[in-house]
C-alpha cells in the first residue's frame, strides 16, 4: 500500500482548516452582509440616542464610549454563536471525518477560531470606520490595541462556543443556554451604557462580571490611557478568559466524541 508522505504539522493543518472555513463563510454572502451591517446598524440607529447624554457619560464624545462597547459586544456575542455552525458540521459528519485524519486536534479548533477572529477584525474595522464621520475621535494606536484585545476576547469565546457545541450537539440545547447567559452578561457589562450611570447596588453586582472590566479597558484604550490600571485589568482578564476558553476547547476536541 502506498503511504502519503507525512507532512502534517499543526501550522499546516491549521491553515487547511482555516482556509476551508473562510471559504465557506465567504461563499455565503448573506452571512457576510449581515455580519457587516449589524454593527453598522448599532452605530447608526443607537449611537445618536447617546449623543445628548454625552455630558453624563463623562466624555465629550458619545462615540468614544459607545464604539468600544459595541466592539466588545461583537467579540463576545458574535463569537458565542459560532457553535451553531459546528453543530451543523458535526451532524453532516464533517467533524468525525476530520477526526479520523492524522491532523492535529489543536488545528481542527485553531483553524476555525482564526476564521472567526478574521471575521471579527473585519467587522470591527468597518465599525470604527463608519463611526469616524459620525464624530468618533480616538488615537490610532488605541484603536489598534483595542481591536487586538477584542480579537483575543473573540478567540476565547469562539473556543468556548465550539466546546459547548461539541458537548451539547443540539441546537435545541445550545440556543437556550446561550440566551440564558447572554442577556444578564450583556446588561451587567456596561456595553451599551457605562455602569457609572448605575445605582450603587447595580454597580456592585456588575463589578464581579469580568466583561465589565474588559469593556472599561477597551474604553481606556480609546482614550489613549494605555498604561492605566483599567487598561491592564482589561488585558489581564481577557488573557485569563482566553486561556480558560482555549483549555476547554482543546480538551473537547481531543476527547473522543462519544
Amino acid at each position: 500500500m502506498s503511504l502519503p508522505v507525512a507532512t502534517n504539522s499543526v501550522a499546516r493543518d491549521t491553515w487547511t482548516v482555516f482556509a476551508r472555513a473562510m471559504r465557506l463563510s465567504l461563499r455565503n454572502p448573506a452571512w457576510v452582509v449581515i455580519g457587516l451591517t449589524q454593527p453598522v446598524l448599532y452605530i447608526l440607529l443607537f449611537g445618536p440616542l447617546l449623543e445628548p447624554l454625552s455630558g453624563q457619560l463623562g466624555s465629550g464624545n458619545a462615540y468614544q464610549v459607545f464604539v468600544p462597547g459595541i466592539l466588545v459586544q461583537l467579540g463576545i456575542f458574535g463569537a458565542l454563536f459560532v457553535g451553531f455552525g459546528l453543530i451543523a458540521e458535526w451532524r453532516a459528519g464533517v467533524v468525525e471525518s476530520q477526526r479520523v485524519t492524522p491532523a492535529s486536534r489543536t488545528a481542527l479548533l485553531l483553524g476555525r477560531v482564526l476564521r472567526d477572529v478574521v471575521v471579527l477584525l473585519v467587522q470591527g474595522t468597518v465599525l470604527v470606520l463608519v463611526s469616524l464621520p459620525l464624530g468618533l475621535r480616538a488615537p490610532l494606536v488605541g484603536v489598534v490595541l483595542a481591536l487586538a484585545l477584542v480579537a483575543l476576547l473573540g478567540a476565547a469565546f469562539s473556543a468556548v462556543s465550539y466546546a459547548l457545541a461539541l458537548t451539547l450537539k443540539s441546537e435545541d440545547a445550545f440556543a437556550p443556554l446561550l440566551n440564558a447567559v447572554v442577556l444578564p452578561v450583556l446588561l451587567l457589562s456596561g456595553i451599551l451604557l457605562p455602569m457609572s450611570l448605575a445605582p450603587g447596588w447595580l454597580q456592585a453586582v456588575s463589578d464581579v462580571n469580568p466583561l465589565k472590566h474588559v469593556v472599561e479597558g477597551v474604553r481606556s484604550l480609546f482614550d489613549g490611557s494605555y498604561t492605566s490600571a483599567t487598561a491592564w485589568w482589561g488585558l489581564g482578564l481577557t488573557l485569563a478568559m482566553a486561556a480558560l476558553g482555549w483549555w476547554f476547547g482543546v480538551r473537547r476536541f481531543r476527547r473522543e466524541s462519544s
Binding site: M1, S2, L3, P4, V5, A6, T7, N8, R12, D13, T16, V17, A19, R20, R23, L24, R27, N28, E89, R91, A92, G93, V94, E96, S97, Q98, R99, V100, T101, P102, A103, E256, S257, S258
Partner: protein, 330 residues
C-alpha cells in the same frame, strides 16, 4: 491487516454501565472484503469506531494496518480510510474542495490531492460533479463522494459503515460494484458493516456475525449457510385440506426436521434438497396428492442468524442489546 483481541467498550449512561461491546476477537487479512453483520444495536458501529481510533477501547488490544491502536493512533489514522454512515462533507461546500482539503489533512500536497481526487471522481462515476454542492447531489452520489473522501490518501484498508443504508436498489447495486472494484483494482482491504443479508452475501469473502456485543459466528457466506444444515423445502398443496397429509409425507423424508404448516404451504428443513425433492414427488404421485409448487432453496443468511441467535435479523423491533451509541442518531 486487522488483528483485535478482546476489544471491549463500556459506556456509562446515567450511572449505569452499558456493555456495548463485550470482547471482540477478529482477524482480517490483506485484500479481504469482510462484512460485519448484525442487527441495529449489536455493537457494529461501536467496534468500528474503536478500530478507527474514534473511541478508546475500555479493554483489549488491536493492531490495525500494522500500527498499535492504543500506542500509535496517528499511525493508524494515516493508513486507514473511514466512511461513516453520517456522511463527511459540508452540504454547502463544493465536492471537489472538500476532497482536496481532506487530502491535505492527510498530509498530501494540494496538487496531489487534486490529481487523486479527480481520478477518484472518474472511477466513482462522479464526473462533472467536482464543483457541485453535496446538498444538490443524489443519495447515491453523496455516498460515492463520502467514499472518495475516505480514499483520497490511498489507504490500504477502508472501513465502510453501513455503506448502502438509505439507497435505492439501483444505487446499492452500483455501490457494490465500486466496493468490489476497490479490491480488484488496487487490492484494498475492505471492512464493512451492514444489517442487510443480501449485501453481506453478495459482497463479502467472509462474514463476522455480531450479536449483543460479541461475535457469535464467522465464515464465508456459504460456510455459514451450510452450518444451518441442509436446505429449506417448501411444498404448496393444491387443496389446503390435504396439507396435513402432505406434511406427514414430508416428515417421513430421510433426515427431515418436523415440518411447519402455513395454510396450504408446508416448510421443512432437509439434509439434501435435491434427493428429497425426487423422493417426495414420487410419493405424492403414489398418494394422489396434487401440489402446485415444490421448491428447495439454500438457507439464507437470515436462516443462519435465526439459528445462531434465536432471533430473525429482520425483526427490527427485537429487543436490541442497547441503543447504538452516537452516530446512529440521525
Amino acid at each position: 491487516m486487522i488483528e483485535a483481541r478482546g476489544l471491549a467498550r463500556t459506556f456509562r449512561r446515567r450511572k449505569q454501565e452499558v456493555h456495548a461491546v463485550t470482547g471482540v476477537d477478529l482477524d482480517v487479512a490483506a485484500g479481504e472484503i469482510v462484512g460485519f453483520l448484525g442487527p441495529n444495536g449489536a455493537g457494529k458501529t461501536t467496534t468500528l469506531r474503536m478500530l478507527t481510533t474514534l473511541l478508546t477501547p475500555t479493554a483489549g488490544t488491536a493492531t490495525v494496518a500494522g500500527c498499535d491502536l492504543l500506542a500509535d493512533p496517528v499511525g493508524v489514522r494515516r493508513r486507514i480510510g473511514y466512511v461513516s454512515q453520517s456522511g463527511s462533507t459540508q452540504p454547502e461546500a463544493l465536492a471537489g474542495e472538500e476532497v482536496v482539503d481532506h487530502g491535505r489533512l492527510y498530509g498530501m500536497s494540494t496538487a496531489d490531492a487534486v490529481a487523486r481526487g479527480r481520478r477518484l471522481f472518474t472511477e466513482l462515476d462522479l464526473e462533472g460533479l467536482w464543483e457541485r454542492k453535496p446538498k444538490a447531489m443524489s443519495g447515491g452520489q453523496r455516498r460515492r463522494l463520502d467514499i472518495a473522501m475516505g480514499l483520497v490518501h490511498e489507504p490500504g484498508l477502508v472501513f465502510l459503515d453501513e455503506p448502502t443504508t438509505g439507497l435505492d436498489p439501483q444505487a446499492r447495486a452500483n455501490l457494490w460494484e465500486h466496493v468490489r472494484g476497490l479490491r480488484e483494482e488496487r487490492g484494498t482491504t475492505v471492512f464493512l458493516t451492514t444489517h442487510y443479508l443480501d449485501e453481506a452475501d453478495a459482497l463479502c469473502d467472509r462474514i463476522l456475525v455480531i450479536d449483543r456485543g460479541a461475535i457469535v459466528a464467522e465464515g464465508t457466506p456459504d460456510a455459514l449457510k451450510s452450518r444451518v444444515g441442509g436446505d429449506v423445502l417448501t411444498v404448496t398443496a393444491a387443496r389446503a385440506d390435504r396439507a396435513g397429509e402432505l406434511a406427514r409425507l414430508v416428515a417421513g423424508l430421510p433426515g427431515a426436521e418436523p415440518p411447519q404448516v402455513h395454510g396450504d404451504r408446508v416448510v421443512a428443513r432437509v439434509p439434501h434438497g435435491g434427493s428429497a425433492l425426487v423422493q417426495l414427488v414420487r410419493e405424492l404421485d403414489a398418494a394422489g396428492i396434487g401440489v402446485v409448487g415444490v421448491e428447495s432453496r439454500r438457507p439464507s443468511l437470515d436462516d443462519v442468524f435465526l439459528g445462531l441467535t434465536g432471533r430473525s435479523l429482520r425483526e427490527e423491533g427485537a429487543p436490541a442489546a442497547l441503543p447504538e451509541p452516537e452516530g446512529a442518531l440521525q
